[in-house]
Amino acid sequence: MKIAVCIKQVPDTANVKLDPETHTLKREGVESIVNPFDLFALEAALRIKEAAGGEIVAVTMGPPQAETVIKDAIGFGVDEGLLLSDRAFAGADTWATTAVLAKAIEGLGDVDLVICGKQAVDGDTAQVGPGIAQRLGLPHVAFVKGFREIENKRLVVERQMDDGYDVVELPLPALITVVREVGEPRPPSLKGKMRAKKYTVPMQGAADLGLDASQVGLAGSFTQVVKVFAPSHSGERRRLEGSDEQMGAQVIDALVDNQVIMLGS
C-alpha cells in the first residue's frame, strides 16, 4: 500500500507563555514543531504499513526551513519525503493549500491512502484534508479514531462524532483525517534518526507541479483576512479571599447572582 501523509510545521505553543496584559502569545524564540495531530497521522501510517506492507511518503508545504519536519518524519520511519516550497505559495488559504498538496500527491502516482491530522494547531480549520479528497476525487472519512480492518483495497474505521462514533467502511484509494485516539506516536528510532541526517529532502515549487502563480498562495486564495485584533477578555477578574470553605461558598454565590448557575425550578 502506498500512503501519503500530509504534515505541517507549526509554532510550538506548548512551551510559550501568554502575555498577561495583551493575552497574546509571546512568540520570541518559539521553536517550530510538527503539528501534533500530524504525529498521529504518521503513527497511523506506520501502523497500517506494519499491517498491510507498502511505503509511506510524508508531504509538507512550507518555507524551505520546513524541511526539518520531513526529516522528523524520516526519523519516525517513513520511507520518503517531499517539500513543497515556493515564494508563490505564501499566504495561502485552505483552497490554495489543497491546490498544491493535491497536485503533489497526484504526482506521487498510485497513492492508495492519504492521511492527514484532523487539523493544524495554528489554523485550526480542519479543512485541508476533506479539500484534498475532493480535489483528488477520493472518498474521505474525517476524525478517524481507530481501525477495525485494514486490507489492501478497503478499510473499516471508527469515526469520532459529537455523540459517539460511527463504524465506516471505505474503499481505497481514499483519504482519512485522524484524531489522537488512533495511537500515541512512537519515538523516533536510532536508525531513522541516522537516515534523517543524511536524507536530502526533495523539493518542488509551483512550476514543478504545473501550477500557475495565480492558482496558489495569496493570489490563488478565495478568502482574505481584513482585520486582526486581540480577543476581548470580557468581565473583571478577581481573586477571592478567606478560608477555603468561605471562598467555595462565595464563588457559588457570585455565580448564582450573575445567573451563571441557575438554582432550578
Binding site: D162, V226, K227, V228, P231
Partner: protein
C-alpha cells in the same frame, strides 16, 4: 508578496513588528523586511506612525458569481432524527443576516424519514426548506451528502451558506466548498454584513484563540462559514409558519461510496465536551484517579461534564476523551471550572473562550489565574466540597 515598506519614511520604531500577528516582519538594519508569512492583513499599516507601509491590492481572477448569487442558506444537520442545537442558532443568525441583505432564508436538510423536520425549520426561521429525503441519505456519508448539497448550490446559487462546526459540518462542508470552488471560514464566532459590499464578515479565533481574525470572501459564492455551537442566538419561534418546501430528489446513478456499518451512541467513549454548558476540569493538582471523584461530583451537580488537562490524561488518571486543550477538544461553555489546573498555554487555548472561568489552585502564580474571572488560591479538596455543599444548601437539598 507582502506589504510595501517605504524605506525613506520608515523611522525604525519597530511598532509594526509587535503588531504583526504572523511574525512576518524582521529588522534588517534600520528598516523591517517582509517575510513569506505576510498575509496582507494590514495590522502593521494600522500602527505605523509615519504611514510608511502600504498594503498592495491582490489581483484576483474575475468571478461573476457575486452578481448572480442571492439568499442566505443554513445547512440543517440531522443525525439520528435529531437536529443539534446549533441549527436553531444558525437559523436565528441567518434570519438577521438575510434581513440585512433583504433576501430569503433557506434551510437545506438531507436525510431519511424527515417528516416534521421542515415544519420545525419554518418555525425556527426558514422561509424556504430544501429537503432531500432518501434512503441513500439515511446515514452520514461525506461523498453523497457533498454531491447533493453541491448540486443544490449550483442550481439555486445562494450568496451565503452557514453550517454548524460539528463533527458532520467540519467533515463535509470543506469538501462542499472545494467542490463548488469557493472560500470557507472555519469555526466562526462572529458573523456580520458589510452592507456596502454585501460581504459576509466572518470572525474567528486564530492561533488557538490568541488573536481574532475577520475574513471575507470577496468574489466567489457562496460565502461559506462553519459556526461554533452556542455562540449565535436562536430567534423567536414562529409557530405554524408555513414557508415554501422544495423537495429534492436524488439522481438515479447516485450512490454512497463509503458505508456506515454501525452507529454507536456513547458519551462514555466520546464525552460531549464541545456541546456542554458547564465543564469542570481536573489537572495534575487533583493528584490521581481518586482526585477526579470530586471533579465528577461538582460536574454532576452543575449538569456539566468532566474535562481533564493533558497532564492528567498522560498520567492515565482519566481517558483521552476528556482532554481539553490543543491536542484535545476546544471548549467554550457558559461556565468553566478548573480544579488543580496550572494553565499551560496548550490548555488555555482550548478553554479561554469560556464565558465565565473559575480557577482553584494552590499556586498563586499559576497562569490559569490570568484568564480566570474568579480566582481561588486554596486547596481544591477543601474548596470544591465547600462549593458542592453550598450549592446543595441553596437548592434546599443540604
Amino acid at each position: 508578496m507582502g506589504v510595501i515598506i517605504d524605506k525613506e519614511l520608515c523611522i525604525g520604531c519597530e511598532q509594526c513588528l509587535d503588531a504583526c500577528p504572523f511574525d512576518a516582519l524582521e529588522m534588517k538594519g534600520d528598516v523591517p523586511e517582509v517575510g513569506d508569512a505576510c498575509t496582507l492583513c494590514g495590522s502593521c499599516a494600522d500602527v505605523c506612525p509615519e504611514g510608511a507601509i502600504t498594503v498592495p491590492e491582490v489581483e484576483r481572477a474575475q468571478d461573476d458569481r457575486a452578481a448572480q448569487a442571492k439568499g442566505v442558506w443554513v445547512y440543517a444537520e440531522v443525525r439520528g432524527g435529531q437536529m443539534p442545537e446549533v441549527v436553531a442558532e444558525l437559523l436565528g443568525q441567518g434570519r438577521r443576516l438575510a434581513g440585512q441583505l433583504g433576501v430569503e432564508l433557506g434551510a437545506v436538510v438531507l436525510g431519511h424519514g424527515l417528516g416534521g423536520v421542515a415544519g420545525e425549520l419554518f418555525a425556527l426561521g426558514a422561509d424556504v426548506v430544501y429537503a432531500a429525503d432518501d434512503p441513500l441519505l439515511a446515514d452520514f456519508n461525506d461523498d453523497i451528502y457533498c454531491k447533493v448539497l453541491t448540486r443544490l448550490i449550483a442550481e439555486y446559487k445562494p450568496e451565503v451558506l452557514l453550517a454548524g462546526a460539528t463533527s458532520v459540518g467540519r467533515s463535509m462542508i470543506p469538501r462542499v466548498a472545494t467542490a463548488v470552488a469557493t472560500g470557507l471560514t472555519a469555526d466562526c464566532t462572529g458573523l456580520a454584513i458589510d452592507p456596502d459590499k454585501r460581504l459576509l464578515l466572518q470572525t474567528r479565533p486564530a492561533f488557538g484563540g490568541n488573536i481574532m481574525a475577520t475574513i471575507v470572501c470577496p468574489t466567489a459564492r457562496p460565502q461559506m462559514a462553519t459556526v461554533r455551537p452556542r455562540v449565535m442566538k436562536r430567534g423567536e419561534r414562529r409557530e405554524g409558519f408555513e414557508g415554501r418546501l422544495v423537495t429534492v430528489s436524488l439522481d438515479a446513478e447516485d450512490q454512497a461510496v463509503t458505508k456506515v456499518l454501525e452507529v454507536v451512541q456513547s458519551l462514555e467513549e466520546n464525552v460531549n465536551l464541545t456541546g456542554a454548558e458547564v465543564v469542570v476540569t481536573g489537572g495534575r493538582g487533583v493528584g490521581g484517579p481518586e482526585g477526579f471523584k470530586v471533579v465528577a461530583q461538582l460536574a454532576e451537580a452543575l449538569g456539566g461534564v468532566v474535562g481533564a488537562t493533558r497532564g492528567a490524561v498522560d498520567s492515565e488518571w482519566i481517558g483521552h476523551a476528556h482532554q481539553v486543550g490543543q491536542t484535545g477538544r476546544t471548549v467554550a461553555p457558559k461556565l468553566y471550572i478548573a480544579l488543580g489546573v496550572s494553565g499551560a498555554v496548550q490548555h488555555l487555548v482550548g478553554m479561554q473562550g469560556s464565558d465565565t472561568i473559575v480557577a482553584v489552585n494552590n499556586d498563586p502564580n499559576a497562569p490559569i489565574f490570568d484568564v480566570a474571572h474568579y480566582g481561588i488560591v486554596g486547596d481544591l479538596f477543601k474548596v470544591a466540597p465547600a462549593m458542592l455543599s453550598h450549592l446543595k444548601q441553596l437548592r434546599g437539598q443540604g
